[in-house]
Amino acid sequence: MWLPINRIFRLRVKGGALQYTILFSLLILMSLSLFLMYVRLSALEVYSSQKQSQLIDNINSSIVILENKANLFDQQKQRIQLLDDSTYINDIEISEWGFYDRVKVVSTKGKQQLSKTFLFADNIKSNKRIPSLYMSGANQYLSVGGKAYLGNNTFLPAYGIRKSYVNGIGYNRDSLIQGNSYKASKVLPKLNKSWESRYRNLKTRIDKSTRKNIRELKQDSITVSFNDETLILHCPNNFNLENKYLSGNIMLTGSKLHIANTSRIHLCIVVADTIVVEEKFRGDVQLLAEKYIEIGESSVLNVPSILYLNNTNNTDNILIKSQTVFQGDVIVPHPIRESKEILIVEEGCKMIGQIYCNGYASFEGILFGSFYTNGFMKRSRNGLYENYLVDVCIDSKRLPDEYCGISLIEKSNAKVCAEEIF
């Protein structure tokens, strides 16, 4: 019946046509299988590309939804359904990053997953009536001199506004206020409670976490992803931070900290009792202090930056030295009796953002944004002037549309994506 194997191998097909046909058939079959494989792989590639595009679109769509539904920020974790196709899953994880929100969006389809992390802030521009200046007070005037420019929606103290002479300079403009003015209340509107609680949360978090001594660091450049655990670096007293590059998910703590202009800090948070930033420093950083913050001359702090002073004594203050460019929010929340200026902004400073100063401020710069204060102090060679503004500009109208800061007074009902972080 069956031929033994050795005989099968010994059999030879003698017909040339059949041999050639079998050979060509095999070649055609091989080509065909290669072609099929190519077609299949191409189809898979197109399908995978479509999935990837949709995952990117889902992440972008999540941002749009988060920007338009602020109450989604009330929960830390949630899942939103963007498509009718339930195999696409979109998870959102929200956590605090200082005064901003860190949002991680994970879009999944089967085994394919894409995640991105963003920094969210409040959409300040959604409030159409943001004031240029809000100066509270029952029994005081606001006196303006030189080329002082007060923009639309200025809230004035009870006695109103008047022209004045300071150091022989009179008022040069036709109108005292460039837009609408209103009467302010006797006391400053209360600061949104969430900022104080965020500061407390941050302090508690730092106290509970394990900290690493900054002297133990061997490298000068450190970058920590926001998807990793936060790196908390403790600085010894009177520590001078120089020749360091810190970026990302890093917190710096200490009692008295000096930041040299040879250091670059990007997106980090610094919490200390006293923070002194050297002149010509550049970075974007949240500086939170208990007693004193000083920004050196000609420094540049970009969005998203915050200066927060948790002032408790009458000597606590923030000093922003001349020619500094600051983009962000400045907050001095507590009214301290018998305190002098709790915020000093020197001449030539250009600021974009908002200032909340629950006390007296000395202001000689330009602010495109809002300024909340109880009053102003102006020191000159001739003496001390109370509630005088000379050659300053405070205008909320020139706050850029793309500015994203924090809502100082009310809880924000609109959020905005500040930037994509890593």
Partner: protein
Amino acid sequence: MQKSALKRFFDHFKRTKLRASSIVEVIVALAICMIIFMISMSVIVNSQRSNNIRLKQKAQFILSVVNGNIQQEDTTFDNGSLRLETTFQKNDTISGVSKVSYLVFDNSSHLLGMKVIWVATDSLSNTGSVIGNNN
């Protein structure tokens, strides 16, 4: 006398015996060729029909560039070989946000690709561009 190279080459062919094939072998070989050819053709045609790789790639390209100039209403764009349908659906729960679906079909109304994005309605009326598209 030494033979030339050309002559030696022809002599070699003269000496070689060509093996002939029987008629049965030729018929069997032809049958196998025909079967293989038919199988190949059917496989190629079917794969082209079912996958439409080129059209799908075109659809993918169209979907990647439809970011701007959309109206806040359902629209259809047909270029002969592909048809792009845009459906605009306002969201009732989140104000100011709408869902835009783009569907690309071929001539026989087979779906080649789709993408769904959520857009801020205000941004559409102002600039005609869709927020959140950078792919």
